[in-house]
């Protein structure tokens, strides 16, 4: 689910940056720090929407660097257990298939794929197919997240398509 939230980030600037373009350096550093960041607490930080406030810098005693607390609002992407979302299949193999929902990877194992969908190893590309539907790379699927594991830099999720209204999207 995408959220819009106000966050705070602390930027430390070396004394050489404390000049006329100081605010610019702070904003640049914020964009660089937040780019590609996946935090365990807030999920993926997709983009900074606006910088709300750059507080007065505080000089660190003994160091000379200045510390700025920057308040900004950002778009976050954070999956939750039992959330349903759409995804694109990226890899199919005997164990199941991997799909991507934005920056997030969701793995659906064979056990959580309906029994009537069989893995066809001879097809090119490899696919799961039943009488009416086929899952191969590029298929759009509706997945329900069953487990979320968050570590310091990434989020790993597993999902299911074994319930009503889930599976291939026409």
């Amino acid at each position: 689910m995408f959220f819009h939230k106000k966050l705070t980030h602390t930027i430390t600037l070396h004394p050489s940056f404390l000049g006329p373009r100081m605010r610019e350096f702070v904003t640049q550093r914020l964009y660089e720090d937040v780019k590609d960041l996946c935090s365990g607490r807030y999920g993926y930080i997709v983009a900074v929407v606006a910088i709300l406030e750059i507080q007065m810098g505080k000089i660190l005693p003994g160091l000379g660097s200045a510390e700025f607390e920057v308040k900004y609002s950002a778009i976050l992407f954070r999956p939750f257990r039992n959330e349903v979302m759409d995804a694109v299949v990226t890899k199919v193999n005997r164990m199941g298939f991997k799909s991507m929902a934005g920056p997030l990877e969701i793995f659906v194992s064979t056990q959580l794929i309906p029994a009537d969908m069989k893995f066809n190893q001879h097809s090119n590309p490899p696919s799961y197919h039943s009488e009416e539907q086929k899952i191969e790379v590029g298929t759009l699927v509706r997945v329900k997240i069953t487990g979320v594991r968050i570590d310091a830099t990434a989020i790993y999720t597993i999902g299911t398509i074994k319930e009503d209204y889930l599976g291939v999207i026409e």
Partner: protein, 149 residues
């Protein structure tokens, strides 16, 4: 990092809630997200496209972050509402209901055709809204999607 910097950094890292407690099916999103504003995929699309246009015009050819690019592709593929007015109308449709922002965003993103599908995919809705009201809401959202400019 010097010891001074490490000490300051440590005090600003609060602990996150254990993952096992969070459950979208019961609307338990943790204290960070329980009251947070939820965005429709189409709203994210509008925001990211605006940022992308802005960044394209910059002098240096800055590399877009992988997260940004993948998300942009995703929202362009799955964003159902193409213009801002339609998004505003969808939001206005859901405002008078007593649904949680998470549930409203899920309904807007999943575009269910009937109330059974909606209640199955977003179980936390439960009895918050009657079946007929939900059905009429979904049909109005569907016609907005079909007849958008």
């Amino acid at each position: 990092m010097t010891r001074g910097e490490a000490m300051i950094k440590r005090k600003t890292q609060p602990r996150a809630q254990p993952e096992g407690e969070l459950d979208a099916g019961k609307l338990e999103l943790g204290e960070d997200f329980q009251d947070a504003e939820c965005l429709l995929i189409s709203e994210v699309k509008v925001l990211l496209e605006a940022q992308y246009e802005g960044r394209k015009g910059e002098e240096e050819d800055k590399e877009m972050s992988g997260v940004f690019t993948r998300t942009l592709e995703y929202v362009q593929k799955f964003g159902r509402y193409t213009n801002r007015d339609t998004i505003k109308e969808v939001r206005a449709l859901m405002k008078p209901t007593s649904l949680h922002p998470f549930e409203c965003a899920q309904l807007g993103n999943l575009c269910c055709s009937e109330y059974e599908e909606a209640k199955s995919l977003v179980p936390s809705i439960g009895d918050k809204i009657g079946d007929e009201d939900l059905d009429s809401l979904l049909k109005q959202m569907d016609s907005l999607k079909k007849y958008q400019g």
